[in-house]
Amino acid sequence: MADDVISVKDLVKVYDDVRAVDGITFAVEKGEVFAFLGPNGAGKTTTVEIIETIRDATSGEVSILGMDVKKNRTEILKRIGVLPQEFSSFDRLTVEETLKYYAALFCTDCDINKLIDLVNLEEHRKKLYINLSGGLKQRVGIAVSLVNDPEIIFLDEPTTGLDPRARHDVWEVIKGLKKEGKTIFLTTHYMEEAEVLADYIAIISKGKIIAYGTTTELIDKHFKTVKVTIKGGTEGVGSLAEKMGMPTQGRDNGNITIEASGNEQIVEFLNALKANNISYLSMDIRKPNLEELFLVLTGEALIDKRVTQ
């Protein structure tokens, strides 16, 4: 397509015996936020580093802004901005000096003040990098990735290891970039992050893309049902639902989740509850989220809850 700024075809990367990236194909259009969602070790960073020209592919074709990554490295680097995974910078430079240094590497006269403003670091500009919190460091990293006014910005796990507050601050910065019409390639293992920020999502697992589309498309395609959670219901909720042919799950703490095929069935069910004199504290109706989609697609959780958070 004419508007594709990144196009990846049959990309394969083999390390020793492991196929880290196993034949993936996708495209990113100009101006969209594209999220590469997957658990740790799925092949996200390998893929993104191949697109950024800092890693060589085993096979496959990757072109960015219409240029082949193998042949046009120098030109590509001038036009993209990269926040690498676990970004870090020189400990004893201030925020301001860090930005000036990276601007000098690109030999551009970039407006440092505007960047500092964009990532909201005005009050920290004279502080040494080593004295900044994790969230502030990431914002410096994002500002650094913008010194050359890039057409595409790669953000590799921009909020990993941040507390919820800092994560939301980083999201605000990314939303600001989106408003400016930048194309953003985001890799993350946080479902919520992809849902909040992305226009388009590719889910990657064990080196393969297993789902591809907008959040709504993905959910609608894979889940035909709606989830109804009844909290604090009296006896008989579960058996009633089963009698009406609706599968139930998660009967704990008096909560019960029922799968309904659609709104009509929910109304039917509510009427039946009333008719049977069954009362409840609250009810919650929702579509399954990406987390559940991932579980359905791979049989494994997106985030290993014992390890992260």
Partner: protein
């Protein structure tokens, strides 16, 4: 090659350095401490503090009076020297630092002077080691004793003159031998550990990965690192020379050859550092590898003691170590000015440095595998 990018990098390295107090300590204080330590240990070798050697060729009343005056100071332990030996010979043979010679006819000269103030002064001769600070102290005490004698004799006219004869010994003092070795060693260690430390730290922090996504080229990056290591090396050289010259009477030749050897030493060991970090990715292992390179070289290439003290096979081995040629070259350039050694050492270390540095440049890659 873009000069602006090289300078930007150099500025970052210098800022990082000047803001990190522990680095400043290790780069500058360590060689200074070594100089002080070894300087103090070896500066007094062969000279017994407080001893004044006197050869009395006169044997008259005034010469005995003078010897008595020196004895009376209580500062000196006066040792009389056999009058049958020539003073120069005695000075050279006995490894002493100060010899006062009272010439024959000294007493007569003073009589003459007393009778006729216009007659010439009675002259004393002092042979001394001009590079030894301890001797300088002795000279000034001798001077004040003679002044006292002068005042006693006349009040204003100098009856006794002193002919100071500074001696340059053929044998180099230990400090002459030691200072170039310390310079070579600190240039080696700062280039080697500086390169290894910087590369592994920046790699571990992911800064190299970020730099790989900028237009900075490998050659620009390596060049700025080398310039930074050269700056550091010159800084520690200046410190070592300042201590050596200020405190231990080191009087080296400071010439272009000295700088050439320092530069070649930086290239060689920064190159080895690049090769180490190319193959040993983990920070602690890389440090260990750098130590494994440095320690044998420090002890076997004649940094701390002369190679002649070692068994033959170790002397042969030393000739395969690059630091040996830096040591030899620096000593020739700074002390003996032996041009054949300068040329030979420069050729060996120059070739080695070029090969290692080129290998380092070729094998260092921005890309990950």
């Amino acid at each position: 090659m873009n000069v602006k990018r090289v300078i930007a990098n150099l500025v970052v390295h210098l800022k990082q350095f000047s803001r990190e107090k522990s680095t400043i300590f290790f780069v500058l204080a360590f060689p200074i401490l070594l100089m002080l330590l070894f300087g103090f240990i070896f500066s007094d070798v062969g000279s017994s503090v407080g001893t004044l050697y006197i050869q009395d060729l006169d044997g008259g009343a005034y010469s005995q009076g003078l010897v008595g005056a020196f004895n009376g100071t209580g500062v000196f332990d006066v040792t009389m020297v056999d009058t049958n030996i020539s003073p120069d010979q005695y000075y050279a043979d006995n490894n002493i630092d100060i010899l006062l010679v009272i010439p024959a006819g000294y007493s007569d000269s003073i009589y003459m002077k007393l009778l006729d103030p216009a007659s010439p002064e009675a002259n004393l001769t002092i042979l001394y080691d001009q590079s030894n600070t301890n001797t300088q102290t002795k000279i000034s005490i001798v001077g004040s004793v003679i002044d006292g004698m002068n005042k006693e004799l006349s009040g204003s006219v100098n009856y006794i003159g002193v002919d100071l004869q500074g001696q340059q010994s053929d044998e180099f003092k230990f400090i002459d031998f030691f200072a170039p070795g310390i310079i070579a060693m600190s240039v080696m260690s700062s280039s080697l550990f500086g390169t290894v430390g910087m590369n592994t730290e920046l790699r571990q922090k992911g800064i190299l990965r970020k730099l790989a996504t900028t237009p900075l080229t490998r050659a620009e990056w390596l060049l700025s690192n080398i310039l930074y290591q050269m700056f550091m090396s010159l800084l520690s050289t200046v410190c070592i020379l300042a201590v050596g010259m200020g405190m231990f009477g080191l009087r080296p030749h400071i010439n272009i050859y000295m700088f050439v050897f320092i530069l070649l030493c930086v290239f060689s060991f920064a190159g080895i550092g690049m090769l180490i970090t190319r193959f040993v990715k983990e920070a602690e292992s890389a440090q260990a590898a750098a130590n494994a390179v440095m320690f044998p070289m420090m002890f076997l290439s004649g940094t701390f003691f002369q190679l002649e003290m070692m068994p033959d096979f170790l002397q042969t081995l030393a000739r395969f170590l690059p630091l040996y040629y830096v040591n030899e070259g620096l000593r020739a350039a700074m002390i003996s000015l032996d041009y054949s050694i300068i040329l030979e050492s420069a050729l060996v270390i120059g070739t080695f440095g070029t090969v290692v540095f080129m290998l380092g440049v070729m094998l260092t890659s921005w890309k990950e595998n």
